[in-house]
């Protein structure tokens, strides 16, 4: 039950201070810069600015931190679209259609669509947060090892849509990603796996290092390959009015936007999955129900819509378990939890009673941050697209240097940069041998979730094998997975027969 008087108090505490609104704009701008540079993330931006909030009030401190979160989540689309290098893990799926659209001369359109969908996704997540946070938190708390395992299997089954034409290579890619995810200490019993006696490997491989290696290094190597070839000059279309969508097109994308927002919010509520998973799930969902799935990956708006709407909807979703249960939904909210503790805000069921005004102040800050993100990125489009005018032989080495810093900053270790180098080799070989990279990323993200929950579930089942029958949510996901796999295989056979 929403106490509207407390809500109004919270809203007023933010909007009455022009300096606070300026702080939110500054936070969003900084978040966008961090999100745009491959290797730097909103988590890093929040970590750096956390000490700055010591002297601020509760509302001011949290407003700055959520502004960084919103900006960082959205900023990743800039590098994804313009350079084919995901700025953040959440923006991996934006590369699939964002970059081909930019490469065909429609960079403004791609950015405009991404920016608008980011805004819509953030606002959708915020609406869910505002109205149904406690209800969704109750559902989230029902998720145990069986449910997480079932969701991981369901998500991995969708990899069929990401495998491209060669399903064998797609599955090799996903299993390789899952295998790389086993490096380090095993869940539950902390057995060392593939550490080669190096203590640095006990912590496992980092997703950021893998993404920089697979995408950023591969791009610079593609530029190196093409040095002696005549360079194709891409003339960018003159900047369109608005966001690159006509109203008719926007209406035709409504279902894609809404479904992606729902997926993003749903994934955000479940700790450990994050924006990368949300983006890929939404992308595969939209692709599977599309009338023209063969066009995905060629630069169509649907792909950008799915990715950006879902990864920004994760923001609201991830805040739900954070505020109502004290459980962070992703990496950035884990640091936001630190921010809440720092400002003496105790997350949990009583947060609305003890710190109601601050909570509604946070909601207001998220809305203003979403608006700030829209404005800054919309007017910044002209500057962003100018990046494409910088010769690649000058731009890419600088980007790689900054990406290396991003990898180094994770744990201040040279080892993480060597991981980037290793995955640069892996990514280059995958490109040459025709292996798709997105399934590897999805396998890496979901593999550890799948294994740890599978092992926990197997411990429960060792005591009572019939316990799975008491987990209806898990059973539903397993049934849906089997159905999806069956339909996909039948469709593929049908398509092959038609082609023959």
């Amino acid at each position: 039950m929403i106490d509207y008087s407390v809500a109004l108090q919270g809203v007023y505490s933010v909007i009455r201070e022009p300096l606070l609104i300026l702080l939110i704009f500054a936070g969003v701008a900084m978040g966008i810069m961090f999100g745009a540079v491959p290797g730097l993330t909103s988590s890093m931006a929040i970590t750096m600015c956390l000490p700055l909030t010591y002297g601020m009030s509760q509302t001011q401190g949290m407003a700055l931190l959520v502004a960084l979160y919103v900006g960082g989540m959205s900023g990743g689309l800039i590098a994804s679209i313009l350079l084919n290098i995901p700025g953040t893990p959440s923006a991996v799926s934006t590369c699939f259609d964002g970059h081909p659209m930019a490469a065909s001369g429609k960079a403004y359109r791609a950015l405009g669509i991404g920016i608008l969908c980011s805004f819509i996704g953030t606002v959708f997540g915020l609406i869910c947060l505002f109205f149904i946070a406690p209800l969704l938190a109750k559902v989230a708390i029902e998720f145990g090892p069986f449910e997480y395992c079932a969701i991981a299997i369901f998500s991995l089954s969708l990899v069929i849509s990401l495998t491209g034409k060669d399903i064998i290579k797609g599955f090799i890619s996903v299993f390789l990603g899952m295998l790389f995810g086993t490096v380090g200490l095993a869940p539950i019993d902390a057995a060392k796996r593939f550490t080669f006696g190096q203590t640095q490997m006990n912590d496992g491989l980092k997703l950021i290092s893998i993404l920089i290696g697979l995408y950023a290094l591969t791009e610079i190597l593609k530029v190196a390959e093409a040095v002696r070839r005549p360079q194709k000059v891409i003339v960018q279309e003159v900047r369109m009015r608005g966001f690159g969508f006509s109203l008719k097109e926007f209406r035709s994308q409504m279902f894609n936007i809404l479904s992606s927002c729902v997926i993003g919010t749903g994934v955000g509520i479940l700790p450990g999955l994050g924006g990368g998973t949300a983006g890929m799930l939404a992308y595969t969902f939209v692709k599977n129900r599309s009338k023209y799935p063969e066009k995905f990956g060629t630069g169509i708006p649907d792909g950008i819509v799915a990715s950006e709407a879902s990864n920004n909807a994760v923001i609201g979703g991830a805040m739900i378990p954070l505020l109502t249960l004290g459980i962070p939904g992703d990496g950035a909210t884990a640091i936001l939890l630190g921010g809440l503790m720092l400002h003496s805000i105790s997350p949990g069921p009583l947060i609305f009673t003890k710190n109601g005004a601050v909570v509604y102040g946070i909601y207001t800050a998220i809305f203003i941050a979403a608006f700030a993100m829209l404005v800054i990125e919309y007017f910044g489009m002209r500057v962003f697209v100018k990046l494409l005018n910088i010769p690649k032989n000058l731009l890419f080495p600088i980007i790689i240097t900054m990406s290396f810093i991003g990898a180094f900053c994770i744990s201040n270790r040279i080892f993480d940069i060597w991981v980037v180098f290793f995955f640069g080799i892996v990514g280059y070989l995958m490109s040459k041998w025709g292996f798709p990279k997105p399934p590897m990323v999805l396998g890496f993200i979901l593999g550890s979730t799948f294994e740890s929950n599978l092992r926990r579930a197997s411990q429960h089942m060792a005591l009572d094998p019939s316990v799975i029958l008491t987990r209806p949510i898990a059973l539903v996901f397993i049934v849906i997975t089997v159905l999806i796999l069956t339909i996909s295989i039948l469709n593929m056979r049908k398509k092959k027969q038609t082609e023959e």
Binding site: T182, N393, F396, I398, I405, I414, Q459
Partner: protein, 173 residues
């Protein structure tokens, strides 16, 4: 026959063999509370799956190939050396880029960020520029400026730790 698929299948099988040997070193927990799936189970299941798919990949190419192309090609040292030279001639920019990336990481620890970044930026820009089309002095100045600017931005403004080296300590402190 797609030679890339044969090569990738073979490389993956070698990788699986190596990974399998490493997986045997994983200690399996004993004692109370242990049940079902061990720490070794998942990695080994994945290795078997990758190996099976790699065999399928190779088999697919061999089965689909015309009968006359299925025979094992003759090997000679001259042919192999010739192939290596051709490979290097066609891809030297890529190979040198790999080398420069590795050099950057090695120099980062020993010389510090500014020196390592300057060397890397200058060399990589040179490699990525078609011969005769680059303004090499401008590239050198840009490399030095970027190295210092990035170091200043991250270390002084954002309080991020980067290995300083001599240049960092002398010029920025």
């Amino acid at each position: 026959m797609n030679k890339k698929n044969l090569l990738s299948g073979g490389a993956l099988l070698l990788f699986c063999f190596f990974s399998w040997v490493q997986s045997l070193k994983i200690k399996v927990a004993q004692g109370a509370g242990v049940s079902g799936i061990s720490s070794r189970a998942m990695p080994q299941a994945l290795i078997i799956a990758i190996a099976a798919l790699s065999v399928l990949l190779i088999a697919r190419e061999v089965i689909a190939a015309p009968a006359e192309s299925r025979r094992i090609p003759s090997f000679s040292v001259e042919k192999a050396l010739g192939a290596c030279v051709t490979f290097f001639k066609d891809n030297y920019e890529v190979l040198i880029s790999f080398g420069l990336l590795a050099l950057f990481i090695i120099l980062l620890k020993s010389l510090g960020f500014i020196a390592a970044a300057t060397v890397f930026l200058m060399s990589e820009m040179f490699i990525l520029t078609p011969i005769g089309k680059g303004k090499y002095v401008k590239m050198a100045l840009l490399s030095i400026f970027c190295a210092f600017f990035i170091y200043f931005l991250f270390v002084r403004l954002l309080n991020v730790y980067l290995p300083a080296g001599l240049a960092g300590n002398l010029f920025i402190g």
